[in-house]
Point group: C2
Chain length 461, copies 2
Amino acid sequence: EEPKAPFIQTEIPGPKSRTLFNELSTVQNSLAVQFFVDYDKSYGNYLVDVDGNVMLDMFTQIASIPIGYNHPSLVETIKKEENLSTFINRPALAVFPPGDWLKRLQSSLLAVAPPGLNEIQTMACGACSIEHGMKAMFIAYQRKKRGGQPPSKEELQTCITGVAPGCPDLCILSFKNAFHGRTMGALAITHSKPVHKLDFPVPYWPMASFPILKYPLEENVRENQAEERRCLEEVEDLIVSWNKSGRPVVGCVIEPMQAEGGDNFASAEFFQGLQEICSKHDVSLAIDEVQTGCGSTGKFWAHEHFNLKESPDIVAFSKKMLTGGFYYKEHYRPHEAQRIFNTWVGDPSKVILLEAVVKVIKEQNLLARVNDTGKCLFGGLQGFQTQYPNLLSRLRGLGCYGSIDLPSMEIRDKVISKLRAKGVNTGGCGEKSIRFRPTLTLEKHHVDIFLDKFNSVLHEV
Amino acid sequence: EEPKAPFIQTEIPGPKSRTLFNELSTVQNSLAVQFFVDYDKSYGNYLVDVDGNVMLDMFTQIASIPIGYNHPSLVETIKKEENLSTFINRPALAVFPPGDWLKRLQSSLLAVAPPGLNEIQTMACGACSIEHGMKAMFIAYQRKKRGGQPPSKEELQTCITGVAPGCPDLCILSFKNAFHGRTMGALAITHSKPVHKLDFPVPYWPMASFPILKYPLEENVRENQAEERRCLEEVEDLIVSWNKSGRPVVGCVIEPMQAEGGDNFASAEFFQGLQEICSKHDVSLAIDEVQTGCGSTGKFWAHEHFNLKESPDIVAFSKKMLTGGFYYKEHYRPHEAQRIFNTWVGDPSKVILLEAVVKVIKEQNLLARVNDTGKCLFGGLQGFQTQYPNLLSRLRGLGCYGSIDLPSMEIRDKVISKLRAKGVNTGGCGEKSIRFRPTLTLEKHHVDIFLDKFNSVLHEV
Ligand code: FES
């Protein structure tokens, strides 16, 4: 059922997409729309637009489609009579959970829990996963500070208005170019592009540099080590100085690879050093795996590449995981009811879809496939980079997750648009990178098609 | 298929619920769980727990079930072959929308848009609906302030770190006892209970009093008018003083009836006065209809009871609407792409369920039924309040949405638990209220059952 190759019959967006765009624009701002999709016809790694254009999808709904469009096992999941009521009756999950809830968690989220993390809080999207992960860190910090005492009357009163001591002046450390979400807490630790933050009164919290490595890595070992050392020193300096200033750093949130901010990779040693600094200063460490989780780097969780001494304190996820949420160490479990809570706290209908996805990943050994396919993808791109040194640079990737840079934003955008005209859908990130975010079911023959189209675009540019 | 009456065979939580509770507690904090539910067996207005207890549900998943459990029209929606791909392929909706997206919006969200509001932004839950509604107000405010000029270089640079002028010192005014959500921006305007805010470094923004009316209303006309006047004066004073202090008030967010904070009702005149003050001071007015929207007050939107001179600027929703989002006036449409944005911006699979719900509401004229049934419900409660003046007070309600007070939290909790033991599920709110949040399909015979059980509980207490 998967198309054999891309097939393009109109420009993109085509006439139907353009008409729909004009109509949709009467009821909302639609300026982010690239084209309208026929999701009935899309299949596997191919996206079909409303004008009948068939594109190989290397962007996959901003990295959120795990095993391709209309995967048969997901069709089956929805058609199963026994699953029907889960799709209809969304519960207030933390108050009236379904009887099979733990079983469902065990065959989905808990079956792929990062090593060392045994507890799970479901949420609904990346932003609330990060927001509530930060709250878990604040709660644990204040509980420890109280040394077993209950909150004071003054704390209970002042928190209602939102002032200290009930709402204490605490902060979370994050990184330049980071993206963690668009609600206010997630936005406070986001530092990638003005479009996210401009005009919004977000809390001002410490921001350290994230390493910007020079490529190829083999030729820049010493500079890159120095760069990472510089960033780690900045982290430690910021923790010390903010602690001194009376606004203690409770936690540190970081992406294993910065995605939105330009696909910035750092070494395992950098993350090991970061964990060391955090534990030295009693700062909780949360890894935001919203874009990197669920296998695309060749390990289920990207931070598994880092050989950390112990697991991170919190690991947040969403996108390909279909549900949001975070794993946490026992220390981060609130002791009271309804501290990490909302009406829905997630959605069991997404969890049973994830159950099917996890089954497919395991049965078909998709992580091995991601590593194989990734070798072709990045091997091929490596060849192009050698061939076109003035056009391509900074190739970086793990598994099938990675990026390559063009000389400028203008050229990058042109390449993306020409690729699309030839039937390959990709996305940009950072200032001038193209990011590759295929599904876990991408195969070598897809990569061949992509490399062929990419090559001909590079010829033209 | 709907049970004829409650049927109780164990205590609640029963043995199966208690076992499941202990098991679930090994992987997460489960202290908010009341009992485990069999969602396959639940039907209409009846919730069935895993121990086989059948309860009339007057709480409905914290007011989030619109037309009852396993409604046939929702079953049909999910089984329709043409809807299948919507449940499987969740799109990055703002970038790659499905071809039928506008049509779907027209037969769901736009078909029930509040009078005067023609634009719609979808979101995924109450919290992000409020967060992004506030962002729309900040964007419109800053755009107006810039008078058509683009943001300055300094603004673009400073917003990345999160300081002024890029992230200006602006605020939103809200009310004592308000609840708007648990992400940090929504939390800044939430002021109901310590459990929501304690330990979290939320922004400190102005909080005005919300009227606490005396009941019965007929006997307290003058005091209540004075109380509402006092609150409105506070609103205006806060706007003036915060504006002067260099932290201008951009918007005001308010629930039409405060739910979580104790089902506090204010008069239409109060809301008219609030709108007047807001427009006098150029403050945007957003109504949070997350809990009140979708018909439970007898009008589709609760603020329609207020006869406002013009529509509010923003109306946010979630819960019974199944999808989150907000309606807004054209002035609040961002002029640039991706300002109000995230990966999913909602979920078309929830919107096609809402489509079916809206169809049922219209075809079966459920708003009229809500008003009829509500008259029985609150009429009956009125009788009890007269009969038990030492137990019951402050009866208040509109449609089927409302509350009654018990003398203390302890007695309130006892009444809720005794009601449950007799097969009626209700929820508390505020300090000592019981709130009634049935579906729109509740009928008089359900009310008779409820009143009968309630009467016998009152006898016992
Ligand atoms: S904030 Fe995550 S779904 Fe609303």
